[in-house]
């Protein structure tokens, strides 16, 4: 489904990714793990188009993604969340989720200005859809809240709802449970499993190993911009290179 081929990315001479190649199979949850600074977020940004890779290609179901502007990709079914939250703080929860529906309702200037009955009807449908999504995430009560006054956990869920409301085919999650407590983490874990059950293809970046091991079908390990290992959770757990990448780093910083 998603093919990453030889992706490389430099930041001012410093390589963040070099020659990364792997695949995400349709309907699978693929986890991308690695120590801090390994280049995981950089890769997610390359896939969603926020960064342009220097080398390599990205294919989604045979369609070449790299080179396309970022705003085209949601129309091809790519949805994402951000590591450090990227909500619109002054908009309400409902409005944030409505923004996620852009791929379903490319608004035209003239129609928006005139607000004809047909436009109003369409916007009502979009609203219902967004409200349904909020309901699924238990956010109905807070739909009129500006997100700036929400708790961190709620914000993370709003962002997930915003990514899901357009029904993407590929979901990129950049550390969805970072900073959440055990209960909230479990809730997101359940959600990921539910999406997996519904057949969504997921690329998950996460440091929480319990979550990664319990939800993923396949794991890719990144270290210093290189894919050093990949396999099933069982294989990865016992792979000496992975242990080295993590523990070596830890003993160096400790």
């Amino acid at each position: 489904m998603l093919r990453i081929e030889g992706i490389g990315k430099h930041f001012g001479g410093v390589p963040a990714l070099s020659d990364v190649t792997f695949r995400c199979r349709e309907g699978w949850t693929t986890a991308l793990i690695g120590p801090n600074g390994a280049g995981k977020s950089t890769l997610i940004n390359c896939i969603s188009g926020i960064l342009a890779p220097d080398t390599g290609q990205i294919h989604l179901q045979g369609l070449r993604l790299d080179g396309l502007p970022a705003h085209r990709r949601p129309f091809l079914g790519v949805g994402r969340t951000f590591q450090n939250l990227a909500l619109f703080p002054r908009l309400t929860v409902l409005e944030n989720v409505l923004c996620g529906l852009t791929p379903q309702g490319e608004p035209s200037m003239l129609r928006s200005l005139l607000r004809l009955p047909a436009t109003r009807h369409r916007e009502r449908l979009l609203r219902l859809k967004a409200l349904e999504m909020l309901d699924a995430f238990g956010l109905t009560d807070k739909s009129q809240w500006p997100v700036s006054i929400l708790s961190y956990g709620d914000r993370k869920r709003v962002e997930l709802a915003r990514a899901l409301v357009s029904e993407p085919r590929l979901l990129l999650l950049d550390e969805p449970v970072a900073g959440l407590n055990a209960e909230e983490t479990a809730r997101i874990g359940t959600e990921i499993r539910r999406l997996h059950g519904a057949g969504l293809t997921i690329l998950l970046v996460e440091h929480d190993m319990d979550l990664v091991m319990s939800v993923s079908d396949h794991i890719v390990v990144l270290d210093s911009g290189r894919a050093i290992a990949s396999g099933t959770p069982g294989q990865i757990r016992s792979d000496p290179r992975v242990i080295e990448a993590y523990l070596g780093r830890m003993s160096a910083t400790a």
Binding site: S48, H71, F82, L87, R90, L91, T102, R111, L113
Partner: protein, 329 residues
């Protein structure tokens, strides 16, 4: 639902439309209430400004961009209308539409390179554009009449009736203003308005949701320039006389002040801000020397206390209060 609930629900659902109708009704009766042409003249000025201010608010308040040069577009509209009607004897309505179209095209050309700029670079580019336009208006005196400007601009006419007194002009400009207000409110409530707000608050996130950031900015910029041009055309026909002094960077800053005081991202706020700034000198007759200081003080105080502007700021505060109250209950 009891009948009372039904009425309340109806009012809530249609609150925006009803408010516009209410305002329109009031304005319909206004000439009879005011009677005095001087008062009408001031209210007409509010309407003329309002058209430009709503456009600017869409650009600054909703799309989160900065323009310190919108008076240039007002000026292009005014000079365009004046020149076409004086020198080419064109019908004022046709001139108005032609100028608006030309300004739209010009704004589109300016937007392509300009809107790639961000923050202070955009501030500089728009300021620079305003200074260039103003200098040309002042210096190219064979065409623009130089510093003394152009006089004898023919009035607009409708169905054979020449719109040449304050009362007739009242109905004309406020019709325009109400239409623009309605269009602005529509846009603000549409998904395009939401997309603009998203662009203002986080471009990267907006882009990754499928919003074409560059295109959205360009469209709203062109729209705001067209509204500014319309405002300028009406200004020219209203006063039948124009000179470059009305289209300086200080006028641009005055437009921005109207937007900011009323509220970034609040169309009703623009009505409030424009009214306040136009009326202020009337109240401050005796303090003419203090006018700038008071102007500046209002702007600074609003920005310090309610950075989103009076109307938007109070609305947000109220909303949070209400939510907090409901939560405790």
């Amino acid at each position: 639902m009891t009948p009372r609930d039904k009425i309340l629900y109806f009012l809530r659902l249609h609150r925006t439309g009803l408010t516009v109708w209410l305002l329109a009704g009031f304005l319909l009766a206004f000439p009879a209430l005011a009677g005095n042409p001087y008062v009408l003249g001031i209210s007409n000025l509010i309407a003329v400004y309002l058209i430009a201010v709503i456009g600017l608010n869409l650009f600054i308040g909703y799309a989160g961009q900065i323009s310190l040069g919108h008076a240039a577009y007002v000026g292009l509209g005014a000079y365009g209308s004046a020149l076409l009607t004086i020198h080419f004897d064109l019908n004022p309505w046709v001139a108005m539409a032609a100028v608006a179209a030309a300004v739209a095209f010009a704004a589109f050309l300016v937007a392509i390179p300009t809107l790639r700029l961000s923050g202070h670079y955009l501030a500089m580019a728009t300021l620079g554009f305003n200074i260039v336009c103003h200098t040309v208006m002042t210096q190219w005196d064979q065409v623009t009449g130089g510093p003394s400007g152009l006089a004898g601009i023919p009035p607009l006419s409708l169905g054979g009736v020449s719109i040449d007194d304050e009362a007739k002009f009242h109905y004309l400009v406020w019709s325009f203003a109400i239409v623009v207000l309605t269009l602005g409110l529509n846009l603000a409530r549409s998904s395009l308005g939401l997309a603009l707000a998203a662009v203002a608050q986080n471009e990267t996130a907006a882009e990754s949701l499928g919003i074409q950031v560059g295109r959205a900015k360009t469209r709203v910029f062109v729209l705001s320039a067209v509204l500014a041009s319309l405002s300028g055309s009406l200004f020219a026909h209203c006063f039948t006389f124009i000179n470059p002094d009305s289209f300086t960077i200080f006028n641009s800053i005055e437009l921005v002040t109207m937007v900011v005081i009323g509220g970034l991202g609040s169309i009703w706020g623009s009505l409030f801000g424009t009214t306040l700034i136009v009326l202020l000198p009337e109240f401050l007759h005796f303090f003419d020397a203090f006018r700038d200081i008071i102007h500046g003080l209002i702007l600074v105080t609003v920005l310090i206390l309610l950075p989103q502007g009076l109307v938007s700021g109070l609305r947000d505060l109220l909303r949070i209060k209400l939510l907090a109250g409901r939560n405790n209950a």
